[in-house]
């Protein structure tokens, strides 16, 4: 102990610094602004909203129980959503899983026009005029895509535009049953 306090303690600053460097280096490849969802591995929040196409109809998540389904949060004001739209249309064509949209704080007319113009990948679209349901789902930046399994548990969430690579590597294995549990 004497010896340590004597000479080795002068190496302490260098040692602490080395540890700090390690943290900072790893930090370069992390994404501090991406907030993972607290719902992963937990039951999906409730969803009950009028649909985009028909105000009188209600879309409710209780209708989807028993099989996996996808929820895609989008809006016409969301620039990044355009990026993934083509991918969504392709995924819808593959009929791998029902896909439902959540139109977040949008204008009904503009949204319908966009779907008419660029294609409608959704089995149905819920219209969240005030954003309350989005908050219940922990949405903070469109586009976001949730995969809910047959038990109603959220098993995957994609923050940001969805591309085919991510779809094939993260989502499909969970849908087909090749992988279990939440995606990493």
């Amino acid at each position: 102990m004497q010896r340590f306090m004597g000479v080795l303690r002068f190496l302490l600053p260098a040692a602490v610094f080395a540890v700090l460097l390690r943290f900072l280096y790893v930090g370069l490849s992390l994404h501090p602004d991406v907030i993972p969802s607290p719902f992963i591995g937990k039951p999906a929040p409730a969803l009950s909203l009028p649909t985009l196409h028909d105000e009188t109809r209600t879309l409710s998540s209780t209708q989807f129980a028993g099989r996996p389904w996808l929820l895609n949060v989008w809006a016409t004001w969301c620039v990044a959503c355009r990026e993934e739209h083509a991918t969504l249309v392709e995924i819808a064509r593959s009929k791998a899983v029902p896909m439902y949209g959540l139109d977040w704080k949008d204008d009904r007319g503009t949204a319908l026009a966009l779907l008419a113009q660029h294609g409608d990948p959704y089995d149905a679209v819920a219209f969240d005029a005030e954003g309350r349901v989005a908050i219940d789902w922990g949405v903070y930046g469109a586009p976001e895509t949730f995969l809910i399994d047959a038990d109603g548990t959220v098993v995957c969430k994609q923050i940001g535009p969805l591309d085919m690579d991510t779809w094939r590597s993260k989502f499909l294995p969970l849908i087909s049953g090749a992988k279990k549990g939440p995606c990493t």
Partner: protein, 144 residues
């Protein structure tokens, strides 16, 4: 590359501050409680601001939620729990005392303790050296 829009938003969003469009609470105590609460919640869009300061739509929506929950009689703890359930611990600017934040909250005490121990050791060592040999020059006039 896809984060460019987000970064752009982060850099420019500070330009406009969030001024409430809704009238304040009639009860000043409620208003003060509201102001404190919204300063403790972090905006997920303009991530370096509280929802009080951020002009993002989501921040306005979250402020509305806080307001409505307060009117419904929820406590601060319940309102915070509501937010944490949906967005995770990240949304609280004041980290709660969890196992993973022990270091954060005990750090002041620990560091002060270490500092005090070091200081006491140095002072007693130097005091011993002084009494062994006070030296010739008189105790100096305090000039800077």
């Amino acid at each position: 590359m896809r984060w460019l829009p987000l970064i752009f938003l982060l850099l420019t969003a500070v330009a406009v501050q969030a001024i409430e469009n809704v009238a304040p609470f009639d009860d000043p105590a409620m208003q003060e409680r509201y102001e404190h609460l919204v300063k403790e919640l972090r905006c997920l869009v303009c991530q370096n601001e509280s929802i009080a300061d951020s002009n993002a739509d989501l921040a306005a929506d979250l402020r509305r939620e806080v307001r409505e929950m307060m009117i419904a009689g929820k406590t601060d703890a319940e309102i915070k729990a509501f937010m944490v359930d949906r967005y995770g611990e990240w949304i609280l600017f004041r980290p709660r005392l969890l196992r993973q934040t022990w270091l954060l909250w005990f750090a002041p005490g620990i560091l002060l303790l270490i500092g005090t121990i070091v200081a006491v050791r140095v002072v007693s060592q130097r005091a011993r050296l002084y009494t062994d040999d006070p030296g010739d020059d008189p105790t100096g006039e305090p000039n800077a």
